[in-house]
């Protein structure tokens, strides 16, 4: 068998192992084995590629691989778990950059001889890729706090964006028939610009959805690369990636009860919503009171939210929960599907803090238990426990499923002050008679509570 077919076979093996790996992600006990298999597939494909007969010098390849590995390894080892959203955004930029560059080079080398199919593939590749490179970088900057997270808007914004999109697309169609160098690079530039314009009007809080969409674009760019290079493993991996991003963004939007168009093009809560009149007062409670209540409760449910992530309070939370469990209190964690800023955000943080996943309960499982729960501790969650979503059809988050903590006997809310949640609306929960506020940084409050419970 000749080398080219040996290479093809390593690609086939890689494809199968990739699919197997993602399939294994359907359960935490098999996931790791699956990803190891996928890693082996990746290695096989890389080794296979190194045999490619077009390769004449290896020095640049090796330099690139070494630099990339060092950066990648460093990022993964030293990155705190709480920075996952930023890291993910950045990695979409890298992935899309690689795809875009391969597309540009393909055009650069063969501009004259490109058939219309191949040109179409390259066009999709650089369009999706270009948008993703700049879009993800802006998302990264907003999430990391490098630029202000507030939406940048101006009048006529949507018109500018749509015109740019149409212009780029027209250029694309023209290029399929007349692949002219300069116009191609103009198109790449437009895609890069479009990525910027698409993301700047979106607030930091909506970044997760944007990020997932970028994920899906990056995947599609890879798949298009596969079409351009006649490489099936690229098509498969890219398509899987594309679907993953797409499905996750749909899930997020559904859990937030919004549409993707609304996230991308609508200012949040700008029309037709109405906050409910808040009745009652916010009642503060002392740390020791809370400790006693928890220590003598039958069941305590913790509801973590974005505040737990910013406070990095997962370890402190676990300690408190362990202390309670030790005293015989039944402890559960209720995880809302969009708590935090990323799908599965809370799960990962709690896993990092060694919380067994058998203690994590989903919305549907935990809500029926609320009325029989003595104490619910809301750790930096806000929107995901806002009863307005259920009770006030005019609320900006109306219809979003919530964890119905207000049905519990006693609710303790840990937060720093009067800060609003992601949606920026008032939360009537805080004013209910059975709710008490414990102000302060979540990590701090939790550690103090642990000490207090131990002495109770």
């Amino acid at each position: 068998m000749q080398i080219p077919y040996l290479i093809e076979i390593t690609y086939l093996v890689a494809s199968v192992l990739f699919i197997y790996g993602l399939k294994a992600m359907s359960h935490p006990t098999t996931a790791r084995r699956g990803m190891n298999a996928a890693g082996i597939g990746m290695l096989a494909a890389i080794v296979g590629t190194l045999l490619h007969q077009a390769i004449v010098t290896y020095e640049w390849i090796i330099i690139g691989l070494v630099i990339g590995s060092l950066i990648g390894a460093a990022m993964s080892v030293w990155m705190p778990m709480t920075a996952m959203p930023q890291r993910t955004a950045l990695s979409h930029a890298f992935g899309a950059l690689a795809a875009t560059i391969v597309g540009i080079a393909e055009f650069y080398q063969h501009a004259g001889e490109l058939g219309s199919f191949k040109m179409t593939a390259i066009g999709f590749e650089v369009l999706f890729g270009g948008i993703t490179v700049t879009g993800s970088l802006i998302a990264f900057a907003k999430l990391q706090g490098l630029v202000r997270g507030t939406p940048v808007t101006y009048t006529g914004q949507n018109i500018v964006n749509v015109s740019l999109f149409i212009a780029a697309f027209a250029l694309f169609v023209y290029l399929i028939f007349f692949p002219v160098g300069i116009l191609f690079y103009v198109m790449v530039g437009m895609a890069l610009l479009f990525g910027v314009l698409l993301v700047i009007p979106i607030g930091a809080a909506d970044m997760p959805v944007v990020m997932s969409l970028m994920n899906s674009y990056a995947g599609l760019a890879s798949a298009a690369t596969g079409f351009a290079l006649n490489n099936k493993v690229l098509i498969i991996a890219g398509t899987l990636d594309g679907f993953s991003g797409f499905i996750l963004s749909i899930l997020m939007c559904r859990a937030m009860n919004r549409s993707i168009t609304n996230v991308l093009f609508g200012a949040f809560g700008s029309v037709g919503t109405e906050e409910s009149q808040v009745e009652g007062t916010m009642r503060e409670v002392s740390l020791d009171d809370v400790a006693v209540q928890m220590a003598y409760a039958r069941q305590v449910v913790f509801v973590p939210g974005y505040g737990m992530a910013t406070a990095q309070a997962q370890h402190a939370l676990r300690e408190l929960a362990d202390t309670l469990a030790h005293r015989g209190v039944s402890v559960k964690y209720a995880i809302h599907p969009v708590a935090g800023r990323m799908p599965g955000h809370m799960n990962v943080l709690l896993a990092e803090a060694n919380v067994p996943y058998s203690l994590l309960y989903e919305l549907e499982q935990v809500n029926p238990e609320m009325p029989t729960t003595d104490v619910v501790v809301v750790v930096g969650a806000n929107d995901t426990v806002n009863p307005d979503a259920r009770d006030n059809p005019k609320s900006a988050i109306a219809g979003m499923p919530i964890i119905e903590v207000d049905r519990a006997t006693q609710v303790i809310v840990l937060k720093r002050g009067q800060g609003k949640g992601f949606s920026g609306i008032e939360n009537p929960l805080f004013f209910k008679p059975n709710t008490a506020m414990l102000y302060g940084d979540a990590k701090d409050s939790l550690s103090k509570l642990t000490t207090a419970v131990q002495q109770a």
């Binding site: 993602l22 990648g72 490489n231 099936k232 996750l248 919380v355």
Partner: protein, 99 residues
């Protein structure tokens, strides 16, 4: 590219699309974050295109583009797999301590 080749690629795409839908929608919310980094790592497979570009010595521009592409894709592959593993290890250890 021959039309037969194109059709083969379309088949692969169609089947992969179904698979993507079926496989991804079976991943529980618990693992959505690792899933994101896993697909990221896997889509780093565009590295194979980058490697050929960097090594084929076509012209200086291509080689430079190639190196950049190799670096970015490798970051994703290495970083993606490592961080996914780091996360999954956290989830996995729980099985033992369960209950």
């Amino acid at each position: 590219m021959t039309t037969e080749t194109i059709i083969s690629l379309l088949y692969v795409f169609a089947l992969a699309a179904f698979l993507g839908y079926l496989v991804i929608s079976k991943v529980p919310p618990l693992l959505h974050t690792p899933l994101m980094s896993a697909t990221n790592a896997i889509s780093g497979i565009s590295l194979v295109g980058a490697i050929v570009l960097a090594g084929s010595n076509h012209d200086r521009v291509s080689t430079i583009l190639g190196i950049i592409a190799v670096i970015s894709a490798t970051i994703n592959v290495v970083g993606g797999f490592m961080i996914t593993d780091r996360m999954l290890r956290m989830f996995q250890e729980k099985t033992g301590k369960k209950g």
